[in-house]
Amino acid sequence: MSETELVSRPAPPSIWHMYRAMVGVGIVCGLLIVTAFQVTRPIIERNKAEALQKAIFHVLPNASTSATYRLDESGGFLVLEGKGVGAELVYAGYDDNHELMGLAVEAQGMGYQDVIGVIYGYSFAEEAIIGIQVLESKETPGLGDKIESDPEFLENFERLDVSLRDDLSEMANPIVPVRHGEKTHPWEVDGITGATISSVAIADILNRSAQYWMPRIRSHLSDFQGDFQGEE
């Protein structure tokens, strides 16, 4: 590049000079970006997979391996091959004996400030939600963000009933939020005082997601139990 310095100094630069500068810089920049992308991509993908794995094991405490399933057009579930969209995926968790422990499902909805994203664990044995983790939230610090940390609130999700009617068509009782301290049924979510909207939002998100997934999952239970597909 140092040879060209002398040429471009005097007279106003020609079209050729402008093209040369733009294209030259463009090519170098392009190479740099692609290199950075190629180098970091495997690391990023591994990190993402690890983070997801951690979340799955958090909401399904007894699981030690997991497998990703995709909802098929026909209504059945298939083991995911390649890339998938988060909205149609469920994650099955297995214990050390390759016994199916439950499913982890991602859900999202509108909170107080912005969208809240959660992942929750569903246990086949108990027909209930047995764990929840907030993946994404911008709720007010100190008030709304109690949905992530308040032990009393999280207790709701140690066994939140999502059992279905006998014909498996819909949930026997929708998940409903109630005022703090008024929880009487296993399908009710005891709200947080001072964070009403955020806690109601969580209940709504879970309700909407469970209404959608539970009938589909229960009617294709055998899809998850087939040959073991879990990975460490």
Partner: protein, 220 residues
């Protein structure tokens, strides 16, 4: 040009204090305010910006005779956007949590007026060595200022620094400090401090002048 008579150390020092990009020039404020809610986020953002600033200064100053004036802004933006994309991927690879906390604001370094400003005002007219010093000074000054903001907000807003609890349980967090409005207030407070220092210096200089004048008269 006055700048040419300065040594490179001066180029470095000026960004730290006298021409601090945040506290004195009030430049590049979007990231300053948005991600300064914890000291960790603020420091990471500051370092990312500093890196982009130094790299773009190097690139722009070494290409300064190669780029015609008419297309210079477009080229600078291209260069800056490249380094920002690289930083974006590196942060994603290093820590996903940090990436989540900073979000789209890493990409927004592209439109940080500070970086384009330094490329246009300094790097395009100076040698590589001087531009590096300028970038280092401005970058570190920026990161330092961001850290100051983040630390104040985290200490008052959640009673901790880098996640470590500082106070006794009885400390009532100032929730407002971690909310967006806290960013405005904290920056305003720092600016007030700097304004005050500046004014005091001016007043002192004036009174010094007055005394010398008075002394001079007496002598006559």
């Amino acid at each position: 040009m006055a700048a040419t008579s300065k040594s490179s150390t001066d180029e470095f020092i000026k960004g730290l204090w006298k021409e601090n990009p945040v506290f004195v020039q009030v430049l590049g404020m979007c990231p300053v305010l948005a991600v300064s809610n914890t000291a960790m986020n603020a420091l990471a953002m500051g370092l990312a910006t500093a890196f982009v600033l130094i790299m773009s200064n190097i690139a722009v100053s070494s290409l300064r005779n190669f780029i015609p004036k008419q297309v210079r802004i477009a080229t600078y933006i291209l260069i800056i956007a490249t380094f920002v994309t690289v930083v974006d991927y590196v942060i994603q690879a290093v820590s996903l949590d940090l990436y989540k906390a900073l979000g789209a604001f890493i990409s927004l370094i592209v439109v940080n007026c500070l970086i384009l400003g330094r490329a246009e005002a300094f790097a395009s007219k100076n040698t590589v060595a001087r531009s590096v010093m300028d970038g280092l000074g401005m970058g570190i000054g920026f990161a330092f200022a961001l850290f100051c903001l983040g630390a104040v907000r985290e200490i008052l807003g959640s009673g901790s620094l880098f996640g470590a609890q500082l106070f006794h349980d009885a400390f009532q967090d100032w929730v407002v400090m971690i909310l967006p409005s806290g960013g405005f207030f904290t920056l305003a407070a720092w600016l007030l401090l700097f304004n005050w220092l500046e004014q005091r210096k001016e007043r002192k200089a004036k009174s010094d002048e007055a005394t010398t004048l008075a002394l001079g008269k007496e002598a006559v």
